[in-house]
């Protein structure tokens, strides 16, 4: 029963990683860049939904919606101001810029909201008790897992079936050829950032519901873990990010429970290294097999 409890907590933690990883992987897939500021957009989403709920007194769902809108705009602005001018710059320059944006967001949050942690009110409260109370699952966990699955399915349908979704895949493969189809590549990349950032806001609200201390650095570690999850599953792949996120959460939860609390992060990264040694492209990553 204990094992089951750890597994459940791992899956729900992993669902948050997966939601963040989906944003990472989409941006990587289309813009071919690692947006290291993604984790900090989560933090911003956390603050905005916090302010909307506590200061404006909006209902939970509405406050998350406000955060999504805010982060969508933030994502588009970051992309337009910081990354677009570097479109043909070496990828190292883009990476350094992304790290710069990450520090900028953290320090802006520090300036505006201060260093003191805020006590976040979970989006839902209460727990579900199963097996005569032997197994208790918080409603936040359930909501998180459902959100994650819905988001994953929606993104899969969007990229697989819609005109804009296919355009994204076209850009991801060959931007020049996509332009020759009449696809506006800049707008497509903007849209990708918009979607990724809206997801980050959702992840922010869920993350803060799990561990209700909200600080300017709240997004850093989950951001890095989600990046790991995306690589783990095969960066660029939507189901890969989903599976990678869940696995990472489960490994972390079980590692913490059965091996060592202090070492749980190390265990996570050690598993990542082993997986990448065996499968360099990640679990679901494309092995290059294209015919030229």
């Amino acid at each position: 029963m204990k094992f089951l409890a750890y597994l459940v907590s791992g899956i729900s933690l992993g669902s948050i990683y997966a939601i963040i990883a989906l944003g990472y992987t989409m941006v990587y897939g289309i813009a071919k860049m690692l947006n290291f500021a993604h984790g900090d957009v989560i933090m911003v989403g956390g603050y905005i939904s916090f302010l909307a709920a506590t200061n404006l007194g909006l209902p939970v769902l509405l406050s998350v919606l406000v955060a999504m809108v805010f982060c969508t705009v933030l994502g588009i602005v970051i992309e337009g101001l910081a990354y677009r001018p570097l479109r043909s710059a070496p990828s190292l320059a883009v990476l350094i810029t992304a790290i710069g944006v990450s520090y900028f967001l953290q320090n802006a949050a520090l300036l505006i909201f201060g260093a003191n942690p805020k006590a976040y009110t979970p989006v839902v409260s209460g727990t579900l008790k199963l097996f005569d109370g032997q197994l208790s699952i918080s409603y936040v966990s359930i909501v998180t897992v459902i959100c994650c699955i819905v988001i994953m399915l929606a993104l899969t349908a969007f990229t697989g079936k819609t005109r804009m979704g296919k355009a994204m895949r076209a850009c991801s493969e060959d931007k020049g050829a996509a332009q020759l189809m009449g696809i506006n590549v800049n707008r497509t990349i903007s849209l990708t950032f918009a979607i990724g950032s809206a997801l980050a806001a959702v992840a922010g609200a869920l993350l803060c519901s799990f561990s209700p201390t909200l600080m300017p650095t709240t997004g850093s570690m989950p951001g890095i873990k989600a990046f790991t999850a995306a690589v783990f599953g095969g960066i660029g792949s939507i189901p890969g990010a989903f599976i990678g996120g869940i696995l990472l959460g489960v490994i972390e939860a079980l590692g913490r429970a059965y091996i060592s609390t202090q070492l749980s992060n190390s265990i996570v990264f050690a598993v990542l290294i082993i997986i990448l040694l065996v499968r360099p492209a990640g679990l679901l990553g494309k092995r290059t097999q294209e015919k030229v």
Partner: protein, 234 residues
């Protein structure tokens, strides 16, 4: 006049790839651009479709300047570019590639357009659900051409459509070009296979190291000794 490019100068960093090139294409013509490797043929096409920019000079399409129009808008105006090396979307299915070709078509009947392409390229029809990266080279070329036709181009630019194809497929590709021409599509054709290109072209330009060194009707070029020597092995 449909397309008029004047005094194009195109650079890749310090490399001056196209040096003061001018050419034009009249409505209904097949015009070919031939020349050795590295002459600047592909670069010229890329400049027309907006993937590259000319320093100075002018490009007019149907009487409208397109020299600073973004590439994705140029497609909408009616220029389709089948790039060198095909550049189909290898991870998408054949049908999805055609859908991408129709990206600028709003409100039209895309399914009917697809059927039209399938009539022209029956091999694609059998493979409509196949991942494009697994097509043979010839099939990929047909897909690239079919994809370009989905946008209903007024001007179709083809960059070495015969590259890497077996002789029988080259014939087939040229038959298709001739058929498109007959159906009223204006074509700008870049080719290494000068003999084939000249056989269907109304007019031709010869490029050498970034410059146009010769121009005339297909017959004039085929008859020219210089061109004979350089490109036709005569």
């Amino acid at each position: 006049m449909m397309l008029k490019a004047e005094n194009l100068n195109v650079y890749y960093g310090p490399i001056h790839a196209v040096k003061g090139v001018s050419f034009e294409v009249n409505e209904g013509e097949v015009v070919t651009l031939i020349g050795a490797n590295g002459a600047g043929k592909s670069t010229s096409l890329k400049t027309v479709s907006g993937l590259m920019r000319s320093r100075g000079g002018a490009i007019e399409f149907m009487g409208k300047s397109i020299a600073s129009t973004p590439a994705h808008k140029i497609v909408e105006l009616g220029i389709a570019h089948v790039p060198e090396g095909r550049r189909i979307f290898t991870s998408m299915t054949v049908e999805e590639n055609l859908d991408m070709g129709a990206f600028t078509v709003r409100g039209g009947n895309i399914d009917a357009d697809k059927e039209r392409v399938f009539e022209q390229f029956p091999r694609l029809k059998e493979r409509r659900k196949q991942i494009a990266g697994t097509l043979s080279g010839g099939e990929q070329q047909m897909l690239a051409m079919g994809r370009a036709l989905m946008s209903h181009p007024k001007l179709l630019m083809l960059d070495e459509p015969s590259m890497g194809l077996a002789p029988i497929l080259v014939e087939q590709v040229f038959d298709i070009i001739a058929a498109l021409h007959k159906a009223g599509t204006t074509i700008l054709l870049v080719e290494q296979n000068a003999e084939m290109a000249l056989s269907i072209a109304d007019r031709a330009y010869v490029m050498e190291t970034g410059r146009i060194t010769f121009s005339g009707t297909g017959k004039e070029l085929a008859a020219s000794e210089d061109v004979q020597k350089a490109y036709l092995g005569g």
